[in-house]
Amino acid sequence: MSVKEAQANWEPKILVFACNWCTYAGADLAGLSRLQYPPNVRVLRVPCSGRVNPQFVIRAFQRGIDGVLVAGCHPGDCHYVTGNYFTRRRYLLMQRLLQYVGVDPERFQARWISGSEGPKFQQVVKEITEQIRAMGPNRKLRDAQ
C-alpha cells in the first residue's frame, strides 16, 4: 500500500474511558437499541471517571490514539457519591494543560453520559469521530515506535 493509499484509508482511533455505572451502560443501551455508532471507538471500562488519571490519557496519545473521550456520570449521580466532582476539577485543569502544550482541544474531551442516554452516547461518539476524522491522525506526543 502506498503512503497515499494508507492516508486515504486512515480511520481515526478513538479511546473512550467509560464509567462502569453510567456511560458503559449507556453504550450498552445504544447497542441494544441498535443505534449505529462508528466502529472507531474502543471502549475501556473504568469503575469511575475519577479512575482515569493523566497518565492514561497521555499514554493513549503516545501509543497512537487519535482522540480520547472520558465519560462519566452526571454531577450528583456518581455511584461513589462524589467521584465525578473531583474528576470535573481535575479535567478542567488537565484539558487546559494539554491544550497548553499543543494538543488540539478536540482530541481530549469529557462528557457526562448516563445509563439511560444511549442516544447521547451515539451522538457524542459520532461527533467526536467526525471531528477527529476531519483533523487527521494525531502526531503529537506520539512515540517513535
Binding site: 497518565q55 470535573r88 476539577r89 478542567l92 494543560l97 502544550v101 499543543g102
Partner: protein, 299 residues
Amino acid sequence: MSDKVKKMQEIAREILEKGEAKVVIGWEKGTHWYLSPPAFIDKPEEVERLVWDDFCHNNLSKYLKDYVNHEGKVAIFVKGCDSRAFNRLLQDKQIERDKVILIGIPCHGLKDQDKAKELGENADIPKAKKCVECRYPNPLVYDYFIGEEKALDEVAAASEARDFSDVEAIETLSPDEKYEFWNKQYERCLRCYACRNVCPACSCRECIFDQTRVGWIGKANNASENQFFALTRAMHVAGLCIECGECERVCPMNIPIMLLNKKLIKDINLLFGPYDAGVDVDGKLPLGHFDKNDPEEFM
C-alpha cells in the same frame, strides 16, 4: 559579616549548645562566590560556616523528608518560599511540626547565578527569575526570626505584580506552535529527575517514575516519554506547587518548567478561586475537594 549572618550563627550555636536540635540546616559558601549550597551543622563550633547572601537558593524544607525517622529535632532556616514548602509538607502530614525548629529569615530576593558567573563579582547582578515575582518574601511560619519583616506595602506591591504574561504568550500560540515549542524543550530533557528531587511538592514515598518495572514510563529518553514525565509531574504537583522555582533553577538543560506549573496555578485561580499553596496549613487542596458549582464544561 552582616548582622543577619551573625544572628544566624548565634541562634544556630544556641540551638546546638542547648541540644534543642541535633542538626541545623542552613547555607554555606560553595565552590564559587555565587554559590551558597545547603550546609548541615552538627557542632556549635561549625556554625561559622553558615551564611546568608544573594545566592541561598536551595529550598531547605525538602531535606526534612530525610529526617522523618530522625530522633530529636532538626532546625532549619526558612525563607518565604521555604516556609511555604514546610507548610505543604506539614499539610500532607509528611513531617511533624514539633520535630522541627524553624528559623525564619525574610528574603530580599536572590540573584541569578548564571548572570553572576557571567557578569562578575562587582557587577550589578539581576534578580533570579524565580524571585522577581515572589509574593511571599517573609517566612509564614517560624520559631525564631532574623532581621525585619519586609514591609507589608512592599509585599502588597509584589502581589499586584503577579504576572502571567509568559504563560499568556504561549496560550496565544496555535496548537501546532505550542506543540513545537514544548516538544523542543523536552527533546533535550535528560530525565535526570533533578526537578523532581529538589521539589518540595514531590514528596511521594515511591514516585511513579521510579516504578519503571510496572511500565508507567518507558526508560527510553525521547520527546514523547519526556513529555509524559513533564505533563504527569505538572498534574501531580497541581495545587501543591509553592512557586519556589527550584525545579527550573536546577534543570541542567534550562527547560522552562515553571511555565507548566504557572499555567496550572493560573487556571486553578481562575477556575476555583484564588489559591496559594503552602499558605494555609488547614485549608483544603484545590484538587482535594470540590464545589458543586464548579464550572461545567462537560455536559
